[in-house]
Every structure is written in structure tokens, then in C-alpha cells.
Symmetry: C2
Subunit: 172 residues, 2 copies
């Protein structure tokens, strides 16, 4: 009986709603957009520390994940992530083009998000045909990976003598 009560309580505990998770993601995307904007044009494409990728290449990865990612979460149709130059997004040659693509994905996420079937978040999926786990863990991975690479962009900016946007500022 005690087990049953615990199970019921756990099942009805709302940690975060789908709408809140969308807002959380878009708050991070808004901050990442401002980090892209903070880079000088040339350094965005070329600056590197310790043999790591320029911030541009990390951002292309984030775009490659977010767009097909939200589509996959909604439909559960997946294809493999492109590698390196195989990304159609990697043809962007200016920060402006990258930001434009970024904004398209932001709008796409907003319009597709309400179509996520409610049971999907807890359903085990295989995102990008490779990563098996509940869909919520894929979504958190998309967000965490963005925070991770954006923070590397922060170090690039600091090393270039540029003050990055505040980490806690997620207004959009």
C-alpha cells in the first residue's frame, strides 16, 4: 500500500511542464544567439584554442541537432547526424547567414513543440538512429550540448578581450 501511494505520488509530481521546457530551451537559444553576435566576423569562423573547433563549427553542430532534433522528437523519424562538411548548414559563409538559419530553427521549434505527443517525453527513442533513451534525455542532451559549446565560445571571447553576455540572462 505504501508502495502504491509512493508510485501514485511520483506519477503525478510535475517537475517541469512541456511549455516550461520549451521556454527553458529557447532562453538558452536566445543567449547562444547573443554569443554568436558577440564574435567578430573573422574570429567566429577561425579563432581556436588548444586545437578545438572554431565557434562557427560548434554552432553548425547545434543547428544540425536542433532542427532535425525537434522534428525527430515530434515524429520519431530520424536520420544520422551529418559529419563536418556534409552539413547543408555549413555552407553559411557569414555570421548573418548563420544567425538567419538560427532564427529559422527557433521558429521551427516553437511551431513543432506543441505537436510533441505527451507520452513521447518518457518514451524510449533512438535519436539520430544512434542514441537510445527516453526522449526527455535527448532534449536535455540537445540543451546541455548547447550550454557546453557556448561556454567554450565564452572562453574564446574572453581570450579575445571581449566581454560575453551574462550567463543568467535568458530573456528573449
Amino acid at each position: 500500500m505504501s508502495n502504491l501511494l509512493n508510485t501514485t505520488a511520483a506519477a503525478t509530481t510535475v517537475v517541469i511542464t512541456p511549455e516550461e521546457l520549451l521556454r527553458h530551451w529557447q532562453g538558452h537559444r536566445s543567449l547562444t544567439r547573443r554569443v554568436i553576435e558577440a564574435f567578430p566576423e573573422n574570429e567566429f569562423f577561425s579563432y581556436s584554442i588548444g586545437g578545438m573547433r572554431p565557434f562557427y563549427e560548434m554552432v553548425i553542430e547545434l543547428i544540425d541537432i536542433a532542427g532535425p532534433g525537434i522534428h525527430g522528437i515530434v515524429t520519431n523519424e530520424w536520420s544520422r547526424l551529418p559529419e563536418g562538411d556534409h552539413s547543408v548548414n555549413s555552407f553559411a559563409k557569414t555570421k548573418k547567414e548563420v544567425l538567419h538559419r538560427w532564427d529559422e530553427i527557433t521558429a521551427q521549434i516553437n511551431s513543432l513543440w506543441p505537436l510533441i505527443p505527451p507520452q513521447r517525453f518518457q518514451e524510449v527513442i533512438k535519436s539520430f538512429e544512434q542514441y537510445e533513451g527516453p526522449a526527455y534525455s535527448s532534449l536535455l542532451y540537445f540543451i546541455d550540448n548547447e550550454i557546453h559549446h557556448r561556454a567554450q565560445g565564452y572562453v574564446y571571447l574572453r581570450s579575445l578581450g571581449i566581454q560575453p553576455p551574462f550567463f543568467w540572462d535568458r530573456e528573449f
Copy 2:
């Protein structure tokens, strides 16, 4: 009627359970622990890029947040975050001491987590007497802030010629 159905569906959608969020956090903490371990002793305390803090100081911040943070989420009792040398944790003088404190906090989180009142996650709190919002957003902030600073540690390591642990490896 359609609105009522939607509201009911939203209220019962489980995005992530408390247990899953705990596991998610501890997975990140396990990775951060391995990033601390990857630093050479001296560089952990002194290495810096672009005028940023040494990784040690960032880790002390994470410890100052996580310990009192989980206590505050459970009890809703808060005090302000210490600044700089005011942290009792900043007296650690070796990596070993920092890792020991890290492990104590890990155990504390595991033991206190089940005591979080189920309604707390959605309750508006004022964490550290400063940051107002639903408790889930504070918890996500703790995690996001850890990912953010750990990723800066990744750049420090790469710049030192050291291969960091894989970002996706959250086994613990």
C-alpha cells in the same frame, strides 16, 4: 471542453520524474568530478585564460551552490551565496581535498533529494535569497551553471594539451 481536455492532458504529462532529474544531475556531477581529476595539481589552482578564474575557483562556486542548494530546495531555507574567499570550501588546498568535499556533497544530494516535497518543483521560491522562480528552474540553473563552467575547464585542459573526458559519458 476542448480546453478542459488540453489542460488535463498538460497537467498529467510527465516530462521528467524527480528520480530522473536526480540521476541527470548526478550524471553531470560525475563527469565534472572526472574533469577535476584530469587537471594537473598546480594548473587546477592557477591556470587561466583571458583573465578568467582558475578552474578551482569555479569548482568552489559549484560546491557552494550544490550543497546549500539541495538543502534549500528541500527546506526552503536559504542564505546568500558566499563571495570569493568567504566560502568555507575555499580553504581546500589540494585537489584531493576538493574531491573529498565534492563526494560529500554528492552523498548529501542523494540523501536529501527524496525529501523534496512533490509540490516544491513548481513552487516559486527565492533561492539564495536572490533568485526568484519555480524551484525546478533553480535546479536547472545549478546544473546548467555546472555544465557552463565545466566546459570552460575543457578549454583549459585542451589548451594544456590534455584530452578531457567525453562530454556524453555520464556513468557513475
